[in-house]
Symmetry: C2
Subunit: 665 residues, 2 copies
């Protein structure tokens, strides 16, 4: 039974902690650790948030048109401080630092999220597309005005009929060799561009994704620069409709755009990866059309990294309010005649909030990893084709972190609102806006369920590298069509299971003997789950194909396992990020911070295992006794963290004005 | 292994179903079954919803003041049709049928929810309090005008400082025997009435809950009729503040009220359960002050029954939209060159929506049971004290159904919004309003976590009936204080475990041998869980007390088990309601409907067991093989229900205008 008592290992820094002896947290030092290399940028954004704090109230008070204009104004003023164009090259007035750009964006997510999304549309999506897909002529023509905000623009990819399967877009760009122009045409209402930020009111130029047709031949989706307004008036041949009021983000002017044979010069093609010669020959250094398309898309990965990080920071705002409320609000007395008890002294309330705090810390560190990878990949290898493997890894990690991070956002804000009762429902507190504004984070920049399938596909193709050039988004087609058979044949299921066995740290009984607080044990559990699930997916697909079943049906039945495997993969990456950070803590880290972070890391790991303990029991990796011991440890960690809960949310450094919660904290 | 293959039992009506041979659903017949005895009332409300369908748009288009006035206008016009006062006595212009009143309210939840909540405040809370807590003088004075809507009023119980623990309210009503008046006083800002519907704009009268003080002695919380506006102006001594914009329900004018020594005549006391004689003697037929208070509160149980039912119907609206979208929207082709696949043909999408459809059906039938109980208890026993046990059972069931039902609402609407992608985020579709308006359902009429503790407390006191007079809401105090020791001592833990054993249908191996689709098996599983969890709570509390630990700490550590036991109890009730209904289906039920309902019932039961399969494995009631077989059955049932999914949501009879989703369906 000794193995079931969850005794900490000798090395666990949290061994000596008990509820009577809580760690002493040095909040400023913890903030410095969390801010990391981008502390200065984050502080600049914090100052700006405080300066423009009134926008939180204006979101409630202004009508939709006025609020859109106000958000534009704030965005332009933020641009003047240099915080919004950090990702654009210095020669065009930017900061030339992609990592800093993402860090700034994450921090901006503490504030009004219409401002955030407008910044994302203008500088990330629109500016990023011009930068990444265009060449010098486009950079020279536009980037300076984009960086300053003088030229507002759109990223016009999504159509009403196609959001996830963007390779099947319906907009067409036909090359007219005589006129040396492209003719942009919307093929019916399902092909209208939709939900496009900056379209309804402020955008002058749009990067339009369309099926390129040259000499009667379709060459796949390419991007074109198309003016949609001239001198404030909608351009000839362009029709724009307002998407109208949305659940949230009403400071962003989303709209629909139709193109009725709109002509743009040949030079409007963003021609970094492909070009059309004046006389109508199509040229590209990337031969495979799928690979070309996903190389183009891949350059836009910063959007996903940014949204994931923003979602995690929005969750922090909700947690900071709910935790502070829980140490102020009292309800019911524990013993007759006594003072009523603080909410956070209830075990259930700790259970509701503290594992979310731990997961938020874990995701913060995972976001550090993906942001760093983004920065390194884009700084080191500006040319297509170089660092292919690193790019693929980045894309999968960005997709996974975005999906898991933004679901965490939705869930956390909901729990925090409920934990603040009726007061949490008033618009004067922040939950109303936080909930409404973040709700679409699970959908835009890639629907989370589709993103996880993309992650799973990457994992499967790791075993069959010759297929990695296939479509990156078209997971369904990929797995269900041709590739299902071939990948699975190449992917010896047997080998996968061997890999799983190799993961175990030693002996058949390893998972019964290791200490629950041993991070090697925790990591091994998540690694085992990931590999086993992946093998299971491969087995299921192979079995279905071997039985001659319809590929669509085979995929459909395996799909929840596909998504499960991807989720397991991402959670393993997140725990690794946290454990790696713990192991690399600077020597001067205050002991109390070290202890508190250790408790958070264990709480994240154990509550993650606990949430899926049925799976671990089903697969022979968790005994009943041990499963119950994990639940006890989760509860114990909640109690241990209770005294430092406020410090832990304070360390996120959210400007006080952003915790707009007059009745709550 | 035969027991693991989940072969249907001989009697299972779904045995012959396969995906190639889906049941043929008679939608109108299914609607009749669901509407039950209140079909006429529901149809009246459906017609009214269609008539006032424009209010869905007006919620977006009008400013907050105009929308509040518009909602009031709609409520008054609905009142003129008779649908809103069905719960008030016929002699005052009501319908004299509480069950019909709740059915009407549930149906109204298909439409704009500000209208719903305003109706609930006016006719349910305000009118209900006058009816249930007042006597003839109050009925004569007010009920006619309340029924017509001429007199709008407030139910002023909640205060800023006390929402859940209402026995500790801070408002005081002191009897001045010389003047024969009560003096109502707000004791500081924490004691201001808060979140009170009808307060900010339309209410003239308020039922105010306050600590009654007579002759220097506190007699507990009582209700008083207090004018808050006279001729449209705020009454002297009353101060009102608007709660302002809320996350949703902005057609309801919630506000705060302070009373500065406001005098009301002695007759303003709602004196059904207690009175003060002119010369200042306090009198009540109920001696125990706690029992008196909870008897008063108990008469207001219809509010919880109503909110639970409304939440379930709001979830139906979201599911109807998402299911219909999923059979229209295509994305990705299954095989190259083929048409793109419908969302609902993806296994994952079925998994996301269909178990929620099944749970909604289950909750619908559970709501039928609690509504019927409410109707019977209030029709049969108008006097306090009669049918005590039935009332207690009703209160617990109402609390539990409300909690589980409204969490289902929040979760379902969220999943459906995500399943409709970016289009689901536009305000022109219904999700924005559905999400925002229903969000507070988990909080008002009792915070869900508190309600589940109330349910658990009822279950514990069942074993120690002498304690049933203790506070009904003060679960924390109850368990943590005196009662923890006494209840647990009386509640032989040993006996509880014996009861658990008695539940098993036969033999030690029963749960390994029964067919997964045998409803006796499913019920036994949920009964076992409930009783075992309850015994676990009792054991934990007893152990803590035996060890001499602080009662607050003991309770805090057991609290998640307390809530878990209550949840298990309610889910058992819900499954019983569904199974009972299946067994009592009318003989003329079309075979296809019988089959489809059988599939839904199994899907609800199995997905409920699946969701907690870790617990069942931990407690020796589910083998690994059987656990996996349950997951397979859940998936299979999703596939079987896929062809009739649209019929199943159509059968709810939601008026077409309420499925406001021009881009989606």
């Amino acid at each position: 039974m000794a193995s079931d008592t969850a005794a900490p290992t000798d090395t666990a820094p949290t061994a000596a902690v008990d509820t009577a002896n809580p760690p002493e947290v040095d909040v400023p030092a913890l903030t410095r650790l969390l801010d990391g290399a981008y502390a200065d940028v984050r502080d600049l954004v914090r100052d700006n948030l405080a300066t423009y704090a009134s926008v939180l109230e204006e979101a409630d008070e202004l009508g939709i048109d006025d609020f859109r204009d106000r958000v534009r104004e704030v965005v332009l003023e933020l641009a003047a401080t240099g915080q919004t164009a950090l990702g654009l090259p210095e020669e065009y007035g930017g900061g030339g630092d992609l990592g800093a750009s993402v860090a700034a964006f994450e921090t901006l997510a503490f504030g009004d999220l219409s401002v955030l999304v407008k910044v994302g549309v203008q500088f990330g999506l629109f500016g990023g597309a011009i930068l990444q897909l265009g060449t010098e002529r486009h950079h020279e023509a536009y980037l300076r005005d984009i960086a300053s905000g003088r030229l507002m623009g759109c990223f016009a990819m999504t159509e009403t009929g196609h959001g996830s399967n963007v390779q099947a877009l319906g907009t067409v760009a036909t090359y007219d060799a005589d006129a040396r122009e492209f003719v942009i045409t919307t093929g019916g209402d399902q092909a209208r561009k939709d939900y496009i930020g900056n379209a309804a009111r402020h955008g002058e130029l749009a990067v339009v994704f369309a099926q390129l047709e040259v000499g009667g031949r379709r060459e796949g989706v390419h991007a074109f620069v198309v003016p949609i307004r001239v001198g404030g008036e909608v351009a000839p041949g362009v029709r724009i409709e307002d998407d109208g009021r949305k659940m949230g983000l009403n400071g962003v002017d989303n709209g629909r755009i139709w193109f009725d044979d709109v002509r743009v010069p040949r030079e409007a093609l963003l021609n970094r990866f492909a070009d059309v010669t004046p006389d109508g020959a199509y040229e590209s250094p990337i031969e495979n059309p799928d690979r070309r398309f996903f190389t183009m898309l891949g350059t836009l990965v910063q959007g996903r990294v940014s949204v994931g990080g923003a979602g995690i920071n929005a969750a922090k705002v909700a947690l900071a309010i709910a935790v502070r409320y829980a140490v102020r609000r009292r309800q019911f007395e524990a013993t007759p005649g006594a003072e009523e008890q603080l909410l956070l002294d209830y075990g259930l309330h700790q259970r509701r909030l503290l594992p979310l705090v731990a997961r938020t810390y874990a995701l913060h560190f995972a976001q550090d990893v993906v942001r760093t990878q983004l920065h390194e990949v884009f700084s080191a290898a500006p040319e297509a084709g170089s660092g292919e493997a690193a790019r693929r890894e980045l894309e999968a990690r960005a997709a996974g972190t975005k999906a898991i991070g933004t679901w965490h956002t939705t869930r956390t804000i909901q729990e925090c609102r409920e934990a603040c009762g009726g007061a949490g429902y008033l618009a004067v507190n922040r939950f109303a806006a936080l909930k409404a504004d973040t709700d679409v984070f699970t959908t835009f920049e890639g629907d989370n369920h589709v993103l996880l399938q993309l992650v799973a596909k990457g994992l499967l193709t790791d075993y069959a590298s010759e297929f990695e050039d296939l479509d990156q988004l078209g997971m369904v087609r990929f797995v269900a069509g041709l590739a299902v058979e071939t990948v699975i044949e190449k992917t010896s299921v047997h080998k996968l299971l061997e890999r799983v066995r190799d993961l175990l740290p030693g002996g058949d009984e390893w998972d019964q003997e290791a200490g629950l607080l041993d991070s090697e044990y925790q990591l091994a559990m998540l690694r085992f789950r990931e590999e086993h699930m992946l093998a299971g997916v491969a087995r299921r697909l192979k079995r279905g194909v071997d039985q001659g079943l319809d590929p669509g049906a085979v995929f459909s039945e395996a799909q929840d396992h596909v998504v499960g495997a991807a989720r397991a993969h991402v959670e393993r990456l997140v725990l690794e990020a946290f454990v790696d950070r713990m192991r690399a803590l600077p020597d001067d880290t205050p002991e109390g911070n070290r202890v508190a972070l250790g408790l958070l890391c264990d709480l994240f790991a154990l509550s993650t295992i606990e949430a899926d303990r049925a799976w671990f029991m089903e697969h022979g990796r968790l005994s009943v006794q041990r499963s119950k011991a994990i639940t006890r440890e989760v509860n114990r960690h909640c109690r241990l963290l209770r005294p430092v809960a406020v410090d832990l949310v304070d360390a996120w450094g959210i400007p006080a004005q952003m915790l707009r919660a007059p009745d709550l904290i």
